[in-house]
Amino acid sequence: MSDTIPLKISYIWDISLIIDLFVILKFIVIGSIGAYGTCVLSPHPHIGKIRAAMGLNLILGCVLFFYEIPDEKIIASLFLGSTFVGMSDPKALNKKDLILALILYELLYFYFFQHLRFLGGALGSLAFMASGLSPKIKNYFFKKSGLT
């Protein structure tokens, strides 16, 4: 009897861990769709950065308006911020650096957005911080380890 309880606990712990990882992966995938979508669409002469980012947001907004998806508020705001990260100039942030900026943005989002959401432009400022800090962080860690 005493053997079954730890087994049950470990089983529940494993499932919750898998669900958490799945949720984190879902947010990273959504963010990377926004960032890379904007990065790919923006060089087109008839689209530009703002139209690319806002068009993608409009498509997602219409989907979320008509269909009910769990965590839709988080998904919408996370996607909006990730399109701002994708609006960076390819000279400042290339496509490889974009994923680091995106992960940094998501960390900043989950830590700070709830405290700043009453002011407009909070997502933009978090994206600005992430895309401004990620080259510095990359240089600091990778130059130190000699990987660059």
């Binding site: 530009g48 703002i50 139209r51 980012a53 806002m54 068009g55 947001n57 409009l58 997602l60 907004g61 219409c62 979320l64 308006f65 508020k73 919408a76 705001s77 996607f79 909006l80 911020g81 701002f84 990260v85 994708g86 609006m87 960076s88 100039d89 000279k91 400042a92 942030l93 900026a101 700043l116 009453f118 002011l119 407009g120 432009g121 909070a122 997502l123 933009g124 400022s125 978090l126 994206a127 600005f128 911080m129 992430a130 895309s131 401004g132």
Partner: protein, 126 residues
């Protein structure tokens, strides 16, 4: 001077529209920003002011409009935020070039400034 006033009033109109869509029609903030930002990019008149600047100002106004309803009380607050946005935008054209989220950061700074001004004048947080 007139062009500056026109740009500030277009930005404040964008703030008003965004605030109306967000607080009165209860649309999601991201959808509000997307609608105004996307429609704003169809402004095509190329005069003294580059049209990219108008697109950016309309987008920044849309960001500012998603602030709390208490912060955006009255027409004066729209004009103050729009003026701050225009001021910061015109003086930051040569710095932080190519870093994503600059427009959002400018509108965030403008809203924060108004928030602090209201705190200093009335003595209570909004």
């Amino acid at each position: 001077m007139i062009t500056k006033l026109l740009l500030i009033s277009s930005c404040s109109f964008s703030i008003f529209l965004s605030s109306y869509l967000n607080h009165s029609l209860h649309l999601a903030p991201s959808l509000t920003i997307a609608i105004i930002g996307f429609l704003g990019t169809f402004y095509f008149h190329q005069g003294k002011v580059p049209k990219a600047d108008v697109h950016a100002l309309l987008l920044m106004g849309a960001f500012a409009g998603t602030s709390e309803a208490l912060l955006l009380k009255g027409v004066s607050s729209y004009f103050i935020i729009a003026s701050l946005i225009y001021f910061l935008f015109s003086y930051s054209k040569t710095i932080f070039v190519g870093i994503g989220g600059k427009f959002g950061f400018i509108s965030f700074l403008s809203c924060l400034t108004l928030y602090l001004l209201k705190y200093l004048i009335s003595g209570t947080l909004v």
